[in-house]
Symmetry: C2
Amino acid sequence: MNEITVLAPATVANVVCGFDCLGFCLENPNDLMTLRLIDEKTVRIKHHDDYDLPTTIGENVAGKALLALLERVDENLGFEVEITKEIMPGSGIGSSAASAAGAVVAANKLLGERFNPNEVIEMAMQGEMIASGSKHADNIAPCVLGGFTLVRSVEPMDVISIEYPPLFAAVIHPQIEIKTSYAREILPKEVPLKSAIRQWADVGSLIAGLQKGDYDLISRSLQDFIVEPVRKTLIPCFDEVKKVSLEAGALGGGISGAGPSVFMFGQTRKIAEKIAEKMTDVYAPTGIEFKIYVSAINCHGVRTQ
Amino acid sequence: MNEITVLAPATVANVVCGFDCLGFCLENPNDLMTLRLIDEKTVRIKHHDDYDLPTTIGENVAGKALLALLERVDENLGFEVEITKEIMPGSGIGSSAASAAGAVVAANKLLGERFNPNEVIEMAMQGEMIASGSKHADNIAPCVLGGFTLVRSVEPMDVISIEYPPLFAAVIHPQIEIKTSYAREILPKEVPLKSAIRQWADVGSLIAGLQKGDYDLISRSLQDFIVEPVRKTLIPCFDEVKKVSLEAGALGGGISGAGPSVFMFGQTRKIAEKIAEKMTDVYAPTGIEFKIYVSAINCHGVRTQ
């Protein structure tokens, strides 16, 4: 096999109370990526979209991730990459993670799966660092593994797949720009111990609820008293979106990544579609452009097309 | 049935990263409690031990808990209670919780199980408040339900039973006094957000590890960078006890409750016994009196003798 085409899915990080550790994988949108093996130790990148992303290897997320992979390969080989991004950069649903994870997973398939999932995640993380400026695997891990993932630690890499019951997400992406660096800057450096305890009790219960398939418990645990109150101020109509979603039957939800996307969980696709309608009703009058996705949890992660 | 005798077990709260929410139940030691129904709306308490605990109803943990129960009972009835405490007050392994939970569980059995577990926990918590000065169910919940419990919230009461694989605990109780109020006082009021995130990632992984029966994951998650560094200074030889326990094969462990007891998990009874030996080796030369317990996780909680 000298050529492979994969779909690299969008992902949600910072799942409510699980800030900076819990993420999950969406069924759509997806980036389309084709990789071809070449007999030169380099990476060539071509973008078939309008996002004007850099194609210089070292500045391109997929390129940088593939370079990290090539460093671990003795043979004289490289990759030609064609990318059609459907996940808009800056949307907060793991656009750069999809490029990095998609590239490394595809390359690893061309090389006969010689790297294990932890190694794949590590190499993809090297690529994503260009975009995020920090080492985190909160989007990379669910993009590679699918489902829900808990990143316990990145040094050493320790990623845990979390079992979950049927779940659907409605995601709204208001097309405003939020700089991740600013979203980080406004976070408190210190938090009251009491709030921290409340948050870790909720993280524990959310994991328990997901693994038990207990929707009520999942719903009760989807609270965040630390990050959401600060960051929601950057997202127009956040409270209104949340309110109408809960009224439409959402189990809960919050800011995806550092925003501006907002996601809400529904127990069925029908509920998620209803939530999406209500989200639309809130955003339509604002004049802000937005996209809406309804998706099951994607249990595969990156997959061959 | 007019009389019942129950064993009310010791419990461990503040399970490492799960400070203020995660606890589990020990097989021993146990308090022995006999309750008799009487036709007078009161509680009479007799202690058969040397701990000189108050027997005035309103000042006695079991008495206060039973009063909370009697407030919810219309009939003209009350209880005579005989208590033989084996769990030393102030040991940090849920002595007052055992008195409160034992009394309410036993009374509820005499009344034909008319209260559900959440109600039993709430009433027992009323009793334990005398001893702890605050409303918390971290020892009460595992004492009533057995196994591992996560207290997500006390108002409203929300307790989750956590599945777990075969696990054993070695517990050392150095007979020094640590005032719970002082142990609370020295805690930081604020913690770095980074440390809080690390802690909630560990809580999430610990719950995942317990439910998956993944001993390695349990072991990796048993870390506490917030409370243990502060409170361990109150416990002589804490670091040494931990070190020899890990060398003997412990998965991890930490301070039980607010101390002074220290617990360590072993995957088998044999390992837990070896850990207990090593703990003994550390404490024997110090001249500090101590007790050691080796115990499986008690899946029943309070039970009829």
